[in-house]
């Protein structure tokens, strides 16, 4: 669960955010500090795939928002992760 693209998608699922806000949010919910290079590597890839898009900014910071495609991808990823977690939990209980 340390894939930067998934962390950024998870952060943007709450609403549009700029880079610094994403770093702070990810640090809060995942306890992972994304470096600036890592964050913008992920943002570049996500935008290329059409999973996020830049939105109009009030200041020099550029906010991004999740697209419908990005939301769908995130839902699929979360469902997959959930299946893995449920399986692991069940097996741990019966071990």
């Amino acid at each position: 669960m340390s894939d930067p693209t998934l962390l950024v998608l998870a952060s943007l699922a709450e609403g549009e955010k700029h880079g610094y806000a994403i770093i702070q949010d990810v640090q809060r919910f995942a306890e992972i500090r994304l470096g600036p290079g890592t964050l913008y590597g992920a943002i570049t890839r996500l935008e290329e795939r059409g999973w996020i898009r830049p939105v109009a900014a009030d200041d020099r910071r550029q906010p991004y928002a999740l697209t419908a495609l990005g939301r769908k991808h995130l839902e699929e990823q979360v469902a997959n992760l959930d299946r893995v977690l449920q399986t692991a939990l069940e097996r741990l209980r019966h071990a």
Partner: protein, 307 residues
């Protein structure tokens, strides 16, 4: 640190900077970058450069990288000089002599001479007297130096055509390789005189004579390493790596590995001047296919790195 980080942004590809540069600099101002962030920015720039490289640029970059590595390897390898001497063993001619018997007899004679002249005590004596293998002897024993010398000395039979009109004579080449060309010549001369002495001491001296045709040569240039060949291999491997990396984006990985293996095999066959290159090419092809699972893992990792 902020200035350094802002400078590091220049390491990103120009197209990327045009799109993200300004907002990225704003982010750097917001976070107040430390060393860890600076390292992260530089690493991110490297990854971005890799992912945005075109096939041509990547091929050129990898070829240059291959040339640099090969150049370093070539320079770090020490020169080795080969001194050679040629001698001929001629049997005393008798009319009833059969060619096969004469050949066998001369081969046996040469082997006896070789064993006598290259015996452990004989080589140990030469090593001690001429002060050979000093660096090796600083770390290892005299036995190791003798073992190394046995590898560096070669006695190779020469094709019969070169013995001219002599009846069933067996010519041979004595070769010694050493980093010092004068020592190489000295040792070759010493070994040849020991072969002559062994021939004289041999009880069957009457049946054959040993004559030196070419005395020990002073090698004018190193025989190895062949730095041009190393450079060629480095550049070619760089180009192959680019083909493999970019090909893997479009073609099944096993195909790319097989292609790379076959090409590497062909290259090896060219460099080693093998008469029959097909076994090496097929071996390369099979190795390529067998290595494809590892290549898939590396490719995945590089692809992730590229993003």
């Amino acid at each position: 640190m902020r200035g350094l980080a802002r400078w590091a942004v220049r390491l990103y590809p120009a197209a990327w900077r045009a799109r993200y540069g300004r907002e990225f600099e704003v982010l750097l101002e917001d976070i107040g970058p430390g060393w860890r962030d600076l390292r992260n920015v530089v690493w991110g720039a490297l990854k971005m450069q890799i992912s945005s490289l075109s096939f041509g640029k990547a091929t050129a970059a990898l070829a240059i990288a291959g040339a640099l590595v090969a150049g370093f390897v070539g320079v770090s390898m020490r020169n080795v000089y080969q001194s050679t001497a040629v001698a001929v063993l001629t049997p005393v001619w008798t009319p009833q002599m059969d060619r096969r018997e004469a050949n066998l007899a001369m081969a046996g004679r040469l082997e006896r001479l070789r064993v006598g002249a290259l015996s452990r005590p004989a080589l140990a004596d030469i090593i001690n007297r001429l002060g050979l293998y000093q660096k090796l002897r600083e770390r290892y024993t005299l036995e190791d130096a003798v073992a190394q010398m046995q590898k560096d000395v070669r006695i190779l039979p020469i094709d019969g055509d070169q013995t001219g009109e002599r009846h069933y004579a067996m010519a041979f080449l004595l070769r010694f390789e050493y980093p010092d060309r004068f020592q190489a010549q000295r040792v070759t001369a010493e070994l040849m005189s020991r072969l002559m002495a062994a021939q004289v001491q041999d009880g069957r001296v009457a049946t054959a004579s040993l004559e030196v045709l070419d005395p020990a040569s002073l090698p004018p240039a190193p025989s190895s390493p062949n730095r041009w060949a190393i450079l060629f291999v480095g550049v070619t491997l760089g180009v192959f790596s680019a083909i493999a990396f970019f090909g893997a984006r479009h073609w099944p990985i096993a195909g790319v590995c097989a292609e790379t293996g076959a090409l590497a095999g062909a290259l090896l066959a060219i460099v080693t001047r093998t008469h029959n290159p097909w076994p090496i090419v097929i071996f390369g092809l099979v190795c390529g296919v067998l290595a494809s699972p590892a290549a898939v893992l590396i490719h995945r990792r590089l692809t992730r790195l590229g993003h």
